[in-house]
């Protein structure tokens, strides 16, 4: 598990080189936007329940069979599992965001998740749809929360958040 500072040093050391160029520029951007980043991580925690509930409802609305007998979110015990998994992914997205690096999300949350879902018969397309909803809901809330922030800090941060959700969707496709 690495953050962007540690990863930059490890990569540079592998080449016995200084941390420089683009790498250093990205770290400086990371440092410059730390206030907005912390606000974003905080918001994800505070809004987690809403973001997840909204995503699961949208997913069910799209595919009502999920909550019928035999559906994957039926009975409520399985719905609870589904909500828990949504929280799981959102939580790791927030870790990746503080780290400024997707490795923690990929290695500790997504690795093997697709195979697990396939074994359990979880419909992957629904899982991906739920993550897409979480992405939209999170970005919409962040847009409001960071409305006063400098665009040069806000836009890259929103793009980074979007990236982490994309990584999660890609892992399940």
């Amino acid at each position: 598990m690495l953050d962007s500072f540690s990863r930059a040093v490890l990569d540079a050391d592998a080449q016995t080189a200084y941390v420089e160029g683009d790498r250093l520029a990205r770290l400086r951007q990371f440092a410059a936007s730390h206030q907005q980043r912390i606000i974003a991580v905080e918001l994800i925690r505070q809004q987690a329940n809403d973001i997840i509930a909204q995503a699961i409802s949208a997913m069910v609305a799209e595919n009502p069979d999920l909550i019928q007998r035999g559906g994957n979110c039926y009975p409520s015990r399985r719905m609870a599992t589904c909500i828990r998994d949504g929280e799981f992914i959102l939580r790791y997205v927030s870790y990746a965001l503080l780290a400024g690096d997707g490795a923690i999300l990929e290695q500790r949350c997504l690795e093997g998740l697709k195979e697990t879902y396939q074994t359990l018969g979880v419909p992957l397309s629904s899982a991906v749809a739920a993550i897409a909803e979480m992405k939209q809901a999170t970005l919409a809330q962040l847009e409001v929360q960071l409305q006063d922030a400098d665009v040069s800090l806000k836009q890259p941060l929103l793009a980074e958040v979007a990236d982490y959700f994309e990584i999660a969707m890609t892992a399940l496709r």
Binding site: M1, L2, D3, F5, S6, A8, V9, L10, A12, D13, T16, A17, Y18, V19, E20, L24, L27, R28, F30, A31, A32, H34, R37, I38, V41, E42, I44, R45, A48, R91, S94, Y95, L98, A99, I104, R108
Partner: protein
């Protein structure tokens, strides 16, 4: 070579919870100082060759020390100091900077060289006061470690 963010993330992950206010307050401190540290790291990355050359031309000539491979060793140690500046702690120097086959004589010369670099006022790198303070902190650490 792990930054202060890693244990914060690890603790939250083990507890299975979102990052709470205490985590974010703890993360804020190293992040706030990161801008100064990275400024020093950037200047070191740009000017390390000049810095080493100056050590050879000025300091080593003055002290009459034989400069066999000292330039490369000094550059490597400066590189480790840059890693410290990037991650925000001394772990890169601790992990790689203390080679068991380093002789006491070479270590003493290196300590003197770092003293020279430190006392040149931001090492001639035109750093902001905050960045200069960060660089000085790690140079001092290296000097102490080499004693």
């Amino acid at each position: 070579m792990k930054s202060a963010l890693t244990p914060i993330l690890a603790n939250a992950e083990v507890a299975g919870r979102f990052l709470d206010d205490a985590d974010l307050a703890a993360a804020k401190i190293p992040l706030e100082r990161a801008e100064a540290r990275l400024e020093a790291a950037e200047k070191l990355a740009m000017y390390h060759d000049d810095l080493v050359q100056d050590v050879i031309d000025t300091f080593l000539r003055r002290s009459g020390t034989a400069a066999v491979d000292v330039d490369r060793a000094i550059d490597r140690d400066l590189c480790l100091i840059q890693y410290c500046l990037v991650v925000g702690n001394t772990s890169p120097f601790d992990e790689w900077g203390r080679s068991p086959n380093r002789s006491a004589a070479v270590a003493a010369v290196k300590a003197d060289i770092f003293n020279y670099i430190r006392d040149r006022g931001s090492a001639g790198l035109k750093l902001s006061p905050a960045a200069a303070a960060e660089l000085k902190f790690y140079l001092n650490y290296a000097i102490e470690a080499l004693k």
